[in-house]
Symmetry: C2
Subunit: 344 residues, 2 copies
DNA sequence: CTGTTAGCGCCTTCAA
DNA sequence: TTGAAGGCGCTAACAG
């Protein structure tokens, strides 16, 4: 079998009886002074030969790849799918490509991805930073790589960051619960290792304090969600039980619903629920679930936009201060945050 | 600001006082005849300079990029997230990269992605084919691009395809419903434009026929899901109503649940439900939902594996016949497929 | 207006 | 065991 030799610029040049550079000019729109019929000949040759430029060769020369690297936690999470989709859409519009990587919150995996992406000469990075890779990010910065953080802050580093006003959002959530007559609120979340989680928890605390309500520590769980069931066993064995649960993300919500389904065959009428993240079933669950949504798609778009302007800006962005973009959480009030038992 | 000049092979060679090619040998593990202390010097120089090879330059020379292109319908769909994650995992293990593209079932968008990916010299493609791009795929084949189809078949083309045994799966689903005493089964799906959808529908028909049950055409909807509500309005206005609904994918299920929530404030006790795709909330919905799962992660892995072996195989795969891989659907029986009203 | 030339950073014979 | 030379496909001055 003969390997298909790809047709190159040279082939087109030969076919059109001009030189390589002329064809190159043509390709790059440097029409200004080109003879009408030279153009036509080239145009024709390209079609004839089905010529397709080799972006690798172009990249080598131009030192840019029109490709960005995106490293996120886990595409199986809703926030990630939404933001990654947004980034992809934005990039496609601007003729950029995206290499997507799932680091699974594993610093080593993240490192290896960063290495690979650098080797591939990506023009910039959007990263959902893992907690323990500051050094790596610093290198990226030193090497002048355009870089944007998404979701999580690393305040030690001057990197533009797209995130939610987590504390404010949590406060909003708690206030809503309190206004609806809840006094004993449980809080469940993954381990508080990264900024969104700690900010949310702080917001929860602040909200309770403001209302003069005590936080019952035995109703607070922040840890591996696989052990959430044991926590709930404990909670629901007690004589005093919470009248509402606030979950810190979609994962925590699902663990909670699983538990309640197994234990009570649904959410008890006397228990309210409110969660971060807009799970798809919120609207049609019974009861429908009150959520504190992140505008994930918009956040992804903004991340891409900010990165792009860094890339385009290039040299002359030198001393632009890094701006952060904080989005407002959106409270979608539904049935689950009203105590239903009360009205019986 | 001075642009950071990247350190190159040449720099390393100078620093170690050897020639470029020696360093190159070292990098590519051609140790065999290399002097111990030459090695050490090079090793040292690399660390000193923090040298990182430029994959673009390497690719230009070697005519391969260790990157594959993946074009799927829409990452916001569950099947896509699962398969894409699987592909990514597999590729990462084999030191390959993935460029992910969402074609949204838009043939033009798909074309533009294929062009871009070709320009970027990807080593192969995994595609969830759109219905109307046969020509494009044929070109890919002519140009000897490794190619694998996922989810949907295009039987006119000799391309290895990873898919579900859709007809059999649908049959399994219908049989289960029938065994549980259902006789009037509604079927709801997106427009039947691609192979999985038509196969599933065929399976449904076969199942009904086998059991000697008539298909009531006014209980069948295959079209734009945004109009599913109108369909249901019609269905539930009638005097005879279905005792079960089979939905063709997660989207159709969600439209259905939304409708039922609005209309009946939940799934009526007299109505059973069974859906394709393993939605995350199946387990803890009330009632929990019987699903016909696709082993999406495994399918993604297989797709990557098959593509990889095409890529690795290269020349000598010449006349290997293209094999298809069909996966079994998995019926997960839960509460929603039992008529609950009956046992009251 | 178009062609010549000189690389981009790396790999790969082929000599030495 | 190591080095020199040529080239992958394209772009970008600079000549002509």
């Amino acid at each position: 079998m003969l390997t298909i030799r790809k047709v190159t610029l040279q082939d087109v040049a030969d076919h059109a009886a001009v030189s390589k550079s002329t064809v190159s000019q043509y390709l790059n729109g440097r029409y200004t002074y080109m003879g009408e019929n030279t153009k036509k000949r080239i145009q024709h040759a390209i079609q004839e030969l089905k010529y397709q430029p080799n972006a690798i060769a172009r990249s080598l020369k131009q030192k840019k790849t029109t490709t960005i690297g995106v490293i996120l936690a886990n595409i199986l999470h809703r926030f990630s799918t939404q933001t990654s989709r947004a980034i992809e859409d934005f990039c496609h519009k601007h003729s950029y490509h995206v290499i997507l990587c799932n680091a699974d919150d594993d610093p080593l995996k993240e490192q290896s991805y960063i290495e690979m992406l650098k080797a591939k000469q990506v023009d910039g990075f959007i990263i959902v930073p893992t907690a323990f890779n500051e050094e790596m990010y610093k290198h990226l910065l030193d090497e002048r790589y355009p870089l944007v953080f998404l979701d999580r802050k690393m305040k030690a580093l001057p990197v533009p960051t797209i995130s939610l006003k987590n504390e404010k959002a949590a406060l909003k959530a708690v206030s809503h619960l309190i206004e609806n007559g809840h006094k004993t609120i449980a809080y469940v979340s993954s381990a508080v290792t990264i900024s969104p989680r700690s900010e949310r928890f702080t917001g929860f605390e602040t909200g309770m304090k403001k209302a003069g309500l005590p936080i019952n520590q035995s109703f607070v769980y922040t840890g591996n969600l696989d052990e959430a069931a044991a926590f709930y066993d404990h909670v629901f064995a007690g004589s005093r039980q919470p009248d509402a649960i606030l979950t810190g993300n979609d994962r925590a919500l699902m663990k909670t619903l699983s538990y309640l389904k197994n234990r009570f065959n649904n959410i008890p009428d006397t228990l309210s629920l409110l969660t971060f993240d807009d799970v798809e079933f919120a609207e049609f669950y019974s009861p429908s679930i009150t959520t504190l949504e992140q505008p994930a798609y918009d956040m992804g778009t903004k991340a891409a936009e900010v990165l792009m302007s860094q890339i385009k800006g290039g040299e002359n962005m030198e001393n632009t201060e890094t701006t952060d973009y904080c989005f407002e959480g959106i409270l979608k009030i539904r049935e689950s945050s009203q105590k239903r038992g009360g009205e019986k």
